[in-house]
């Protein structure tokens, strides 16, 4: 608990988490507002409310989480941290827990914020959250952010430099996994096992308009919750590697 308090003080005594959170909120909810504003009256759907949160704002959350570690390396405060807490694994796990929790809460705020603004702007559309799939689609964004934060922190610990870590995360999430689908025949099969594609799979609504959902056309072998567990597994595995490296490496 002490270490969680320490990481909370550290995180909230700098400005970047506030800026990143605000940016994620504006981008996520903003995109939904634009979509809602340009969709024909009464045609807004729940599937359209989360494109901003699950695609665009997620990237900002990944950056924020990576920054939480890379700035510590950038300004050598990681050394001050390791002097105060020589058990490096505890210190880094505490940081991961705090950042993942904040990312999760932020995810819920953005997801329901997006849903809310769509409801306000397009009151005649059917945006009621009734089914389990609909709840998962909206409320699941927070889980995605929390797991994404763990993955981003692992990359941050391994790379240590902001530019490198951010470039890897953005290219991986926004470009690489999508582009692999272009490879004939095998591409789609590989995609079924890529972490961010599985994250998209978890959110898929199914039913009426699956073609519009991110991750459409991929033949996933896992159930939707299985895909989430797989995404989490990849993030935790990467974190374990990062912790081992951080423990062995000279600070």
């Amino acid at each position: 608990m002490t270490l969680l308090a320490v990481e909370r003080i550290k995180l909230f005594s700098t400005r970047s988490p506030y800026w990143c959170s605000a940016l994620a909120l504006i981008l996520g909810v903003g995109l939904t507002a634009i979509i809602a504003g340009t969709t024909e009256t009464g045609h807004m759907s729940i599937g359209l409310t989360q494109l901003g949160s699950s695609q665009l704002a997620l990237a900002v959350v990944l950056v924020m989480s990576a920054l939480a570690v890379t700035t510590e390396y950038r300004f050598s405060t990681i050394r001050a941290t390791f002097l105060a807490v020589p058990n490096r694994i505890s210190a880094l796990v505490a940081k991961t827990v705090v950042v993942a929790f904040i990312a999760g809460v932020l995810g819920e705020i953005i997801a329901f914020g997006s849903w809310g603004i769509a409801k306000v702007m397009s009151p005649t559309s059917d945006l009621a959250i009734n089914t389990g799939a609909e709840w998962r689609h909206v409320a699941g964004v927070g889980l995605l952010y929390g797991i994404g934060a763990v993955l981003a922190i692992a990359v941050g610990i391994l790379i240590r430099q902001t530019a490198g870590a951010v470039a890897i995360l953005l290219v991986w999430n926004m470009l690489l996994e999508g582009l692999i689908g272009i490879i004939p025949k095998v591409g789609v099969k590989i995609q079924a096992w890529l972490p961010f594609q599985n994250a998209n799979h978890f959110l898929q609504l199914g039913g009426a308009d699956p073609a519009e959902q991110p991750g459409a056309g991929i033949d996933f072998k896992l159930s939707q919750w299985g895909s989430l567990a797989y995404f989490a597994g990849v993030a935790v595995a990467l974190l374990v590697v990062a912790l081992i490296v951080a423990k062995r490496r000279d600070a």
Partner: protein, 300 residues
């Protein structure tokens, strides 16, 4: 007490620290002296568990740093004043450190008062001058009221007032019975600060002794003599002591014979003297002499 036993740190083929053994005693200021690149900072990082030694070990009162439960209460360190997030206020910086070691947060205000930063405590550390950053670093080191204090080049870049403040401060800490270990590449600075000296060069121990002893050994008195009959004088003086020639102006440099006696010898032999001046060797000269072999990068 800090004890290093056969400490080594190799980076590939570079031996940053090579078979270094020493002890740092409580109640005294111990200087850690060596030219730039001698391995001082690497040694300090190993003491604090930031770097892992290639072999050998270093302990604080018999324990590794990583074994300390609340290390800031045992050891305070200032290795680099810039290890602060520039957007974080001085108070927030000290606060997270205090919380991490279960030090009462009220102690933050105390140490800010001690180093004189109370008025700027809410300001961002990124805007601090080097002197202020150095004070903030010292505040951090004092936070846990530790028995052992490590400072790496604490006076680097400080103005004379700041240097004097730090010097007096370290003496006060040692007088309170604490172990104070401070590194520097300036012997003149150490001569005024440290009671004991550990001198290293190229990662190896050159000497461990009291500062007094070190200076006495290093700066032998000698006498400069100039004479139109230098050759003859030299022949006579060699019988009484050692005589060398100053490389610059060719004056005789005599060790082991007091100026008074040289004058008498010259008079007896009717030799004209143009100069007869007792010299005291400078500390810096002595230090350069001592570490000449072990300086890593020479200017040519």
């Amino acid at each position: 007490m800090i004890q290093a036993v056969r400490l080594r740190k190799h980076y590939g083929r570079t031996k940053a620290v090579d078979d270094l053994s020493f002890t740092v005693k409580p109640g005294r200021v111990t200087g850690f002296l060596g030219p730039n690149g001698a391995g001082k900072s690497t040694t300090m990082r190993m003491i604090l568990g930031l770097d892992t030694p290639t072999s050998g070990d270093v302990t604080i009162d018999g324990k590794y740093y990583s074994e300390l439960k609340q290390p800031l209460r045992k050891v305070g360190a200032l290795l680099d004043a810039k290890w602060v997030h520039p957007n974080r206020s001085a108070r927030s910086h000290l606060k997270w450190m205090a919380v991490s070691n279960k030090i009462p947060v009220s102690r933050v205000n105390e140490v800010l008062e001690i180093v004189g930063l109370t008025e700027v405590a809410h300001k961002k550390a990124g805007g601090f001058s080097l002197g202020m950053a150095q004070r903030l670093g010292i505040a951090g080191a004092l936070l846990g009221d530790p028995e052992v204090l490590l400072f790496d080049e604490p006076v680097n870049g400080l103005d004379p007032e700041g240097i004097l403040w730090i010097r007096q401060f370290m003496h006060r800490l040692a007088d309170e019975g604490r172990t104070v270990f401070v590194s520097s590449h300036l012997l003149s600075e150490m001569a005024q600060t440290a009671q004991d000296l550990i001198v290293i060069g190229k990662g190896q121990l050159i000497s461990q002794t009291t500062t007094e002893q070190f200076i006495a050994d290093a700066t032998q008195d000698h006498v400069r003599v100039r004479s139109p009959h230098a050759v003859k004088l030299r022949e006579i003086l060699v019988a009484h002591g050692t005589v060398t020639e100053d490389a610059v102006d060719g004056a005789l440099v005599v060790h082991g014979i007091p100026a008074q006696q040289i004058g008498e010898i010259a008079a007896e032999n009717q030799i004209v003297l143009h100069e007869l001046s007792p010299q005291r060797g400078s500390l810096e000269e002595a230090f350069m002499q001592l570490t000449k072999e072990s300086v890593e990068y020479h200017a040519h």
